[in-house]
């Protein structure tokens, strides 16, 4: 977790200042690049993807087979960073619940969803959810039946992950945008049911 007073923040500021002094970076260039990277990234994108998958089974199957191609159909992309990242969507079912972590750092589909929540980057979450996902999920208020298979996905390489939650019961009459409003960021990571 970065704080302005931490050693790593001081080191980063020092390197940034050196790069600026030597003319390798314009003042403020890093902030501009970060702003560009984050522009348009919000959990609402993930919610749109999920709602479309709930109402359109064809889209859902394309999403699970080739998420990068499927999200382009609704005007979204994983190409917001330096290169397009591979997106892998994992679907919750009656018998399986998925949860995403990056144990080595904090890999997350930032270009699509915006910055990750603080707890996602915490050592506590990263170290515990691979060993005891049921216990961690319980702390998030998700109580899974004993028969539900829990699948943890560790983003240790170049893919980024999105969980496709199960559509809640009793939502048959809702429109797509109303369905999207039900989807939370935690649901997209797997630490909430929806």
């Amino acid at each position: 977790m970065s704080h302005d007073s931490s050693l790593i923040s001081a080191q980063v500021r020092h390197v940034e200042a050196l790069l600026e002094q030597r003319g390798l970076l314009d003042a403020g260039e890093i902030d501009t690049r970060i702003d560009e990277f984050l522009a348009g990234g919000t959990p609402a994108n993930g919610a749109r993807i999920v709602a479309r998958a709930w109402v359109d089974p064809g889209f859902a199957s394309r999403l699970l087979a080739d998420a990068n191609g499927a999200i382009r159909e609704i005007g979204l992309s994983m190409a917001g960073g330096l290169q397009e990242q591979r997106l892998k969507v994992v679907a919750n079912t009656d018998g399986e619940h998925n949860v995403v972590v990056c144990t080595l750092c904090s890999c997350y589909p930032i270009a699509l969803l915006g910055p990750s929540p603080g707890w996602y980057k915490s050592e506590a979450y990263r170290s515990r959810v691979v060993r005891d996902p049921r216990g961690v999920l319980r702390e998030f208020g998700v109580e899974l039946p004993a028969g539900t298979q829990v699948s943890v996905w560790d983003a240790s390489a170049e893919s980024r992950y999105l969980v496709l939650p199960r559509r809640p019961e009793g939502t048959e009459g809702l429109a797509e945008d109303e369905l999207a409003a039900l989807v939370t960021r935690k649901g997209l990571i797997g630490t909430a049911a929806v």
């Binding site: 691979v130 049921r134 298979q149 829990v150 943890v152 996905w153 560790d154 240790s156 390489a157 170049e158």
Partner: protein
């Protein structure tokens, strides 16, 4: 161009290497020396260990490899799926 042939197929059993590398790696320590099953290829990328050292090597296939938690931690009824570069993996023969 000849199509790339992946070394492992979906369903293959693989063992991860046990080396304690002297530098950056993307094989998490908890998954060292463990046997898992390939569930899907996950793209073709230069080895992160090399990139971190400024060494360029040919891109290689990355795989989603699923492990039973009990095989990693000695307990747990869940699975953990890790993305692993070809170089981290050796085939496991037999059932």
């Amino acid at each position: 161009m000849t199509p790339r042939t992946d070394r492992f197929a979906v369903g293959d059993r693989v063992r991860t290497r046990t080396v304690d590398v002297d530098g950056h790696t993307r094989l998490p320590r908890y998954a060292r020396g463990a046997v898992g099953v390939v569930v899907q290829p996950a793209g073709v990328h230069p080895l992160a260990d090399d990139r971190a050292r400024g060494v360029s090597g040919p891109p290689q296939t990355v795989y989603h490899v699923r492990f039973a938690a009990a095989d990693l931690f000695g307990a747990g009824d869940h699975t953990v799926t890790v993305e692993l570069w070809n170089d981290y993996l050796t085939p496991v023969e037999g059932p």
